[in-house]
Subunit: 215 residues, 2 copies
DNA sequence: GGTTAAACGGACGGGGGCGTCCGTTAGCGT
DNA sequence: ACGCTAACGGACGCCCCCGTCCGTTTAACC
């Protein structure tokens, strides 16, 4: 729509513009982390010390702001998964993934929301997510071979865990962190292979991108 | 504020008023179950075939409508817990509670939201919830004695599970039900006593009524 | 220092949700 | 049948949020 595309950097921004853009991203990361994605864009503009129009000039829509703000987090998540995937013990790697991702959510509330397709059209997030999930699926496949991961575990269970972890929302950051840690430990226990563990009901195929929740 | 208190029934309502009130409650239950508590009050009034003013005359605030609509569900939940608590095998009873409550949420999205203090000031919900949680705590205590429930389980873990279960939201009702069932099975696995299960990180005390989430 | 255009931000429009007002309707008692 | 009043509902005010417009500021270049 707008003839100018400042986020693609086809030409260098003016000094103040670049400065404002950086402050906006910084404020967005901070606020989204603490409050989640529901926080109004005005609040971010206010904390960045700019007017609303400036925010929308740099990020034409809230979705693009979210995507840009969580690009780093997405890379961090990818790193977590890649590093865990490189672990010689795939079961230990999978456990680390669960613990780290639960903790990531506890510290950064907005990220999980973004990751779980609050904005399905954010291609960066979606493609990144699919790569991450594919990596984890392979990790799980190898973890089963070690005999530590129960055989009826399915990759979609991990999405289930993410969704569930998203539901854990507490007012105090420390409580949030403690709760997510304990929850992660419970999840690991749940998927541990045990001679006398009862069979699970059928898994659900979760196409995370598909849904059009409301309207 | 209003001199008339139609919900306390100090005097009989007129026939049409009583009829409208019933249809409002029915519509509220149906819509809240399917869509959750975020659905606008207008929608409920529309489905009940009345104007917005009529809704607000019977239920001065959305919170009171929610409370009234879920009074039955709360009793149903209480029944589930009471029946499970009367089971001679407390471990089986606890498992049934988890399965039934997860399924309850799957079928009725609004209830879990209401139960988990989306409206902290709804006294009916809060007191009912506290009674339910107390019953479950006692059930868990007895289940530990059987040796099937892991000793480091704490009653607050159940609130954690409820919060987590709330996070599982899928567009399709059948998928929602399947997901909640599988999740419940995983949770039961997680709290099953097993000789070589790893110790859990410290529990969190969750004062469910306390938080003032946003604003 | 002056010119130019990029960048800014206050003010605006649009949409949606909650709760209320007041003129109108219709149930109930006689 | 008739009047009284409870009950109704369309229209309204208020608030919040997203995204835009236009007059003003200011960085960049000569």
């Amino acid at each position: 729509m707008t003839p100018e595309l400042p986020h693609s950097s086809p030409q260098p921004l003016r000094a103040d513009a670049r400065d404002n853009r950086d402050r906006l991203l910084e404020a967005a990361r901070a606020v989204f982390s603490q409050e989640g994605l529901t926080v109004p864009t005005r609040e971010i503009a206010r904390r960045a010390g700019v007017g609303p129009a400036t925010l929308y000039r740099h990020f034409p829509t809230k979705e693009e702001l979210v995507t840009a703000a969580f690009a780093d987090q997405l890379r961090a998540c990818q790193d977590i998964v890649d590093r865990a995937s490189a672990d010689p013990d795939p079961w230990r790697g999978l456990c680390q993934v669960i613990e780290n991702i639960c903790e990531l959510h506890a510290r950064d509330r907005g990220f999980t929301e973004a990751f779980l397709s609050a904005y399905p059209r954010a291609i960066t997030v979606v493609t990144g997510r699919d790569r991450i999930l594919a990596t984890i699926a392979d990790l799980a496949r190898r973890a089963k071979l070690t005999g530590h991961l129960r055989p009826d575990f399915e990759p979609d269970d991990l999405v289930l865990m993410l969704l569930a972890n998203k539901g854990i929302q507490l007012p105090s950051p420390t409580a949030q962190l403690a709760a997510s840690r304990r929850f992660a430990a419970l999840l690991i226990q749940a998927i541990t292979h045990c001679p006398h563990n009862t069979p699970l009901p059928p898994a659900v195929h979760l196409a995370t991108n598909r849904p059009r929740p409301t309207g």
